[in-house]
């Protein structure tokens, strides 16, 4: 009884989540530095090189933004579902589905004029991503099947579908046995914005802003949050949970599909690794952003920078996996840090818990004192 224990703070520390993210990032960078030292590198030099490659100059920034686009859209996809308390673990697969759908359009109409082709490809990508989420949505809404597992399984199914396509029906006959699809028509590439960044950055920014506004201001977003706070409360006010689950999961898949479409129109062809782990990273992005679109954008840029930095330091012989390690550690560090913004360590049994008289004993006691959890 005289040990230490965690007690929930009366009020969480102000700015707690931002603080937690900062602490998480610091913890991750320190841990990464230890790894680098252990393997014979100078972490300061490596980190400076990473930062320089991610933010030093317009080309660096364009690279970072380009990486942030799929991260932000995947993060938004997860966050849209997450704000209703649903887990879309399938962004990875939905990105692939989007890219497949886009490629399919490009194969159907290779001679369409550029802007039209791109728009149709992106629309197809949105539909493709949404379609991959349709099954989990129906299963969840109508049969109560856990969406975490169904979306997770569809990742692997989508991965094998694209593997099948680039090894079989869509294999480039000129690539002599290589598992790649033919290059896309030239006019299917998104126009450049600056340096290496293309219009995808604008599209992602617009989508994020729209959802940011919708989530916080619209009636639709309000209903989403009611359902996320309590499914029973949502039914009580007449919000149809089934319809919400369907729309939210399909929308989530569609946003991830858009990420796949943008990746496709930013590269020259579909490959097996088109999703590159963006879908999984999006889950971490959304979790760090507490499912808020505004936070998703910031975290996505930070993680985009990490990816660019990770690629850049490969030339020095450092594995680019250091960037994945840091991303995962940021989350773990932030999770740990979040505890201390919401909890405090108290010594129990020492009498310090005895109140000083600021709170009233009667009055509000019944709410938490005797209500069963």
């Amino acid at each position: 009884m005289f040990g230490y224990r965690l007690a929930r703070r009366d009020k969480p520390l102000p700015g707690g989540q931002f603080l937690a993210f900062a602490i998480g990032l610091a913890v991750a960078l320190v841990a990464g530095a230890i790894l680098l030292v252990a393997t014979g590198f100078n972490p300061i030099e490596i980190y400076i090189e990473m930062a320089d490659s991610a933010f030093g100059g317009s080309q660096a920034i364009s690279n970072t933004l380009t990486q942030a686009v799929p991260l932000g859209l995947a993060g938004l996809a997860v966050a849209v579902a997450g704000s209703m308390g649903l887990w879309n673990i399938g962004a990875e697969g939905q990105i692939i589905a989007g890219a497949i759908a886009g490629t399919w359009i490009a194969r159907l109409g290779p001679d369409l004029p550029g802007p039209l082709l791109i728009v149709i490809m992106l629309v197809a990508a949105v539909v493709g991503g949404g379609l991959l989420a349709l099954g989990p949505a129906i299963a969840k809404a109508h049969l109560g099947v856990n969406e975490i597992i169904t979306t997770l399984m569809l990742n692997e199914i989508a991965l094998r579908l694209v593997r099948y396509l680039v090894n079989g029906p869509w294999q480039d006959p000129t690539a002599i046995g290589f598992p790649v699809a033919p290059v896309l028509p030239e006019q299917a590439a998104l126009p450049t914005l600056f340096s290496r960044a293309n219009v995808g950055v604008i599209i992602a920014a617009i989508v994020l802003v729209i959802f940011g506004v919708f989530a916080s201001r619209s009636k639709w977003g309000f209903e989403l949050r009611v359902a996320g706070s309590s499914a029973q409360a949502a039914e009580y006010v007449g919000i149809s949970l089934r319809a919400k689950i369907m729309t939210v999961l399909i929308l989530s898949g569609a946003i991830a599909g858009l990420a796949g479409g943008i990746r496709l129109t930013s590269s020259d062809r579909i490959v097996e690794g088109i999703a590159e782990g963006w879908g999984f990273a999006g889950i971490i992005v959304a979790a760090l952003a507490l499912m808020r679109p505004s936070g998703v954008a910031l975290v996505a840029i930070a993680f985009g920078a990490l990816r660019v930095g990770g690629t850049a330091i490969q030339t020095q012989g450092v594995s680019d996996s250091i960037s994945e390690i840091i991303q995962a550690l940021v989350l773990m560090g932030a999770l740990a840090a979040a505890v201390f913004t919401a909890y405090e360590i108290t010594r129990s049994g020492s009498g310090t818990g005895v109140p000083t008289g600021a709170e009233s004993i009667s009055g509000s006691a019944e709410a938490s004192a005797e209500a069963t959890p």
Binding site: L6, I149, E156, I322, L331, P373
Partner: protein
């Protein structure tokens, strides 16, 4: 198709089955205690890298196994601390573990230049004397290596512990309702952490099997989604060690069959059995996931009028004084 190819297939089925069973059994234990661990893929990668490293250094497979099990169990406790002690969302923390594990395995794999070394450490088949000379069975079941036998016995032990011991009763209780188990005097956090660590150790053993038996060596991406199949298997097997074994052999069979489909096409002459239809190996490899989704739907529909077969507290953090 010849006897030789069929025996080759069966051996491969047993090998994939062993690997999947080790990982899925570990995940079953963690989930039975109420902790979903989506970090299997990452844990397996850590285990595979760690065991290959020690195997290459020492040439001793058992030492490699021991090292991988300990390292992976410790690694899995990152998820344990985050989800059980801190109370973070199990989905997020488990996925982060996968990303972290894949990253760490790749990082150390490259730093140690593991791709360029060869390991002499191998698990060889147990010498069962005359049993190995029995046609068919001798060349397959009685030619499996020590780790496969270990996996089988671990399955039996897991079943016994879960269903027939006080420890198993407590572990299942923690996975059904932490508050109830706590009130009955079970140490919830300790039980869950233990289950997570055991699950991690099993995943480490699966990783060892991967890098020392199934495809000796280490390369980035070696796990290739096998960890996700293990997660699926737990559901497919309805959280029961026996059914998970069946599922492991079934899914292992599908994986083993994929690349061999071509050789099983009907040809002239001496074939004793053959396929006379075209099946794409990649599409066949989708089947485990599709089957799992189907089983999940059946389980969900069946549990409408009665408590679900899934551990009820899965995914739920527990803090005693929280209300």
């Amino acid at each position: 198709m010849t006897q030789e190819t069929i025996v080759g297939l069966l051996v491969s089925v047993l090998e994939f089955g062993t690997l999947l069973y080790l990982a899925a059994l570990g995940e079953t234990i963690a989930e039975k205690a109420g902790v979903l661990n989506l970090g299997v893929e990452g844990m397996m990668a850590v285990g595979a890298m760690a065991s290959f490293w020690i195997g290459a250094e020492t040439g001793n497979p058992w030492l490699a196994l021991l090292f991988a099990v300990v390292v992976t169990a410790a690694f899995s406790l990152i998820h344990g601390l985050a989800s059980v002690v801190i109370g973070a969302d199990q989905v997020v923390s488990g996925l982060a573990l996968t990303i972290l594990g894949l990253g760490l395995a790749a990082f150390f794999g490259q730093s140690l230049a593991l791709t360029t070394v060869l390991s002499t450490a191998r698990f060889s088949a147990l010498d069962l004397g005359p049993l190995s000379d029995i046609p068919w069975i001798g060349e397959t079941l009685f030619s499996i290596d020590a780790l496969s036998w270990l996996a089988l016995s671990l399955g039996a032990v897991t079943w016994f512990v879960l269903t027939r011991t006080r420890m198993g009763l407590s572990l299942r209780a923690v996975g059904e309702s932490a508050a109830t188990a706590d009130a009955a005097g079970t140490k919830v956090a300790a039980t869950r952490l233990t289950a997570v660590a055991i699950g991690g150790g099993f995943a480490g053993a699966a990783g060892t099997y991967l890098s020392l038996v199934l495809s000796p060596g280490w390369s980035e991406g070696a796990t290739g989604g096998l960890g996700w199949i293990a997660v699926a298997l737990v559901i497919f097997g309805a959280w029961k060690p026996g059914r998970v074994l069946f599922g492991s052999l079934l899914f292992g069979g599908l994986i083993a069959l994929g690349p061999r489909l071509q050789t099983f096409r009907c040809q002239d002459g001496e074939d004793i059995a053959c396929l006379n239809f075209d099946a794409d190996p990649t599409l066949v490899s989708m089947l485990p996931y599709i089957l799992t989704v189907i089983v999940l739907i059946i389980l969900s529909v069946r549990s409408r009028n009665r408590p679900s077969i899934a551990p009820a507290a899965i995914g739920l953090a527990y803090r005693r004084e929280e209300r």
